[in-house]
């Protein structure tokens, strides 16, 4: 092959692939709106706030960004909105050990951000992030659960709390909570956390029924 032929192959080959890429881009652009919910004013305002505070300088979203803090794609599926709002406005008021700084986010900005994060959580991401495959496999073979453990699981307490190394880190570790709190405190706290802990960011569980709350309390008390 002569140098000239090699050069022409480079130039026209690149153009050829670029044209295909542009065609795929046009096709994709036509399909994106159907793969995500409609963008309201609030969602857009939330996206602007996301950029304003450079959240992507610490977090990933849709898996892209920085690897210093958890991914935000599906965060509203995992955490209730009141909790998120309080965390955004003052992380350390939720979790004294939080390393996210207090950025000065206003109440309105927090609402907008949550609308935006709720939007991303409903984008069709071809199944990302995947369900943890080993956890699912272990769940099938798990030993008989007590009634309290079943409530703990169905209410997703582990999104915020850790027991023996498994679970979230934003609420206190519950591994030994039974030696710290008594039955009345735990039961009352489930019904209305704020009367026991001022400014508590834990959601109230008054709605789940007396029996379930009793089972849950039994379980907590057993954690010594």
């Amino acid at each position: 092959m002569s140098n000239k032929a090699a050069r022409n192959l480079f130039i026209f080959g690149s153009l050829f692939f670029f044209v295909i890429f542009v065609m795929l881009t046009i096709d994709t652009m036509g399909k994106l709106d159907k793969r995500a919910p409609a963008i309201t004013e609030e969602v857009n305002a939330g996206k602007m706030v996301w950029h304003k505070y450079d959240c992507i300088g610490c977090h990933t979203i849709l898996g892209n960004g920085s690897y210093f803090a958890p991914d935000m794609t599906k965060i509203t599926e995992k955490k209730p909105k009141d909790y998120l709002k309080q965390f955004l406005m003052d992380p350390k008021s939720v979790n004294p050990k939080a390393s996210m700084p207090k950025l000065g986010i206003s109440s309105k900005e927090a609402d907008d951000l949550i609308a935006f994060l709720d939007w991303t959580s409903r984008v069709d991401t071809n199944g990302w992030p995947p369900k943890p495959i080993l956890a699912t496999a272990a769940g099938v073979a798990v030993k008989e659960l007590t009634a309290g453990q079943r409530v703990y699981q169905s209410q997703n307490c582990a999104n915020c709390h850790m027991i023996s190394g498994i679970g979230g880190t934003t609420g206190p570790d519950l591994t030994h909570v039974g030696s710290k709190r008594d039955r009345t405190w735990l039961f009352g706290h489930f019904k209305d956390p704020k009367t026991y802990v001022p400014n508590s960011a834990m959601p109230s569980y008054g709605h789940i029924g007396e029996k379930e709350l009793n089972d849950l309390t039994d379980y907590m008390v057993s954690l010594k």
């Binding site: 505070y53 300088g57 990933t60």
Partner: protein, 463 residues
């Protein structure tokens, strides 16, 4: 070694600015590494430090490539630069813009509310990774790059010697300038935002920049080994051609999970898996050329050139291909595996490229026949070994993260603060080793040709 055209000396302005920013980049990199252990340890939050780290990196690499281009184009065109005052103006305009942007980041770090909305865009920081620079700075940067391109094209037009090397170099630079534009408009959809964002980021590092690297590699091999132009240029076309054929559609490896249609899993998976091939040809090219020649005029220069080719392949090619298939990327997407790859790829492909260009052209600019290369080798080994260990520790952290968080379902923060702690400590230690290597390089850069220490006395003949 002396320069043929006086105006080639302008390259040195760009090199000096690049070298200083390199020092800033690595210093703030160490602060970022320490913040993984102590998040509040510095006045500026992690996000600001990280923006400084990656922006300083992108800017110094670009500035280094600009310097290299101002050296190569007159040499290839066999004439002085079209307008030296324009080149100087373009240099100082770039310095001014960069400093203003940096001050803006620092100010925003102290007072996040200062990042207000002005004419619909952010005043200090756009809040988009790598292209954080606000819109007004984007526009100034584009103007500066256009002046730079104009100056070089006019230089080429003066003598109309269309060599393959400078044609490819300027072609790559033009695509680079064009591919900055998709990052310069706002979209309400985060999916579209990221779609266009990858046009900039991917089509830069795996398209335009890699073409520039191919052209500079050919130039450097020709300079240090004296190999025939026809041969290096032919292989250069093969390399940069394959870079584009695989890299353009390879962009699909970023469109797996961001809300884009699933056909990208096929397009991205297939084409990006082929991306290492041209990088491997570059390694082979460097070795073949070196083996065929006995007279090496610049040992340090050749060393850095060959190392660039090798680590371009290892960092971009190997560390890229391990997580590029959708079946793997589904689990590793957005983990420390990505950071590991990012570091080795940028180091191998572009840091070593710019340093190689500096070692090959600076002696001529400073008018020295030969120079003592011992510091060049020392800094090379300090930097390279430290970088290898940074990458290994972060790859380890990424494997632990992928296993525990993504496969077992443990909490992100728990994995980060408990299981990966030692990896962060080790990274910071090797980071200091890297900084030491950079310091040796900086000293060497400023002293090269200015001390009588080398065996051969400096011979400042005028061109």
């Amino acid at each position: 070694m002396t320069i043929k055209y006086e105006s080639q000396k302008i390259a040195q302005n760009f090199y000096t600015f690049a070298v200083l920013l390199f020092l800033v980049q690595v210093t703030v990199g160490i602060i970022a590494a320490l913040q993984f252990m102590w998040p509040d340890f510095f006045i500026l939050n992690f996000n600001i430090i990280r923006s400084l780290h990656i922006n300083a990196m992108v800017v110094w690499l670009l500035v280094g490539m600009m310097g290299a281009t101002y050296y190569v184009v007159p040499e290839e065109s066999e004439t002085e630069i079209w307008s030296l005052p324009l080149a100087k103006f373009q240099f100082w305009a770039t310095v001014g813009t960069v400093l203003a942007v940096v001050l803006g980041y620092v100010y925003m770090g102290i007072n996040p509310q200062a990042n207000t909305l002005v004419f619909g865009t952010r005043l200090l920081n756009e809040g988009r990774e790598y292209i954080e620079a606000p819109r007004w700075a984007d526009i100034l940067i584009v103007v500066s790059v256009l002046l730079f391109l104009l100056n070089n094209f006019m230089t080429m037009l003066k003598t109309k010697k269309w060599t393959g090397i400078q044609g490819t170099l300027l072609g790559g630079l033009t695509v680079l300038a064009l591919m900055y534009l998709p990052g310069m408009f706002y979209t309400k959809s985060m999916v579209k935002d990221q779609f266009w964002w990858w046009w900039v980021v991917h089509l830069w590092v795996e398209g335009a920049w890699e073409v520039i690297a191919g052209a500079l590699l050919a130039f450097m091999l020709m300079k240090v080994t004296g190999v025939k132009r026809e041969v290096v240029e032919k292989w250069m076309y093969v390399e940069v051609g394959l870079v584009m054929f695989t890299g353009i559609l390879g962009t699909g490896h970023h469109y797996y999970w961001i809300g884009t249609p699933s056909y990208w899993l096929w397009v991205g998976g297939i084409f990006s898996s082929l991306e290492p091939i041209p990088l491997l040809i570059m390694v082979w090219d460097a070795f073949r050329t070196t083996r065929e020649t006995r007279v090496v005029t610049n040992k340090a220069g050749l060393y850095y050139t060959v190392a660039h080719a090798i680590f371009n392949f290892v960092g971009a090619g190997l560390w890229g291909v391990i997580h590029t298939l959708p079946q793997v990327n589904k689990w590793t997407h957005g983990t420390q595996i990505t950071t590991a790859h990012g570091h080795l790829a940028f180091y191998g492909a572009y840091v070593l490229l710019v340093l190689a260009m500096i070692y090959i052209t600076l002696p001529a600019i400073r008018g020295v026949k030969a120079f003592n290369a011992s510091r060049a080798f020392q800094s090379f080994w300090w930097m390279t070994i430290s970088m290898i260990f940074i990458v290994l520790t972060i790859t380890g952290a990424g494997m632990v993260q992928t296993y525990m968080e993504r496969l077992m379902g443990l909490d992100y923060v728990a994995v980060k603060t408990n299981y990966n702690l030692w990896f962060w400590i080790l990274r910071a230690i090797f980071g200091v080793g890297f900084l030491y290597g950079v310091l040796i390089f900086v000293v060497d850069y400023f002293k090269l040709g200015k001390e009588p220490a080398s065996a051969v006395a400096p011979a400042p003949e005028k061109a």
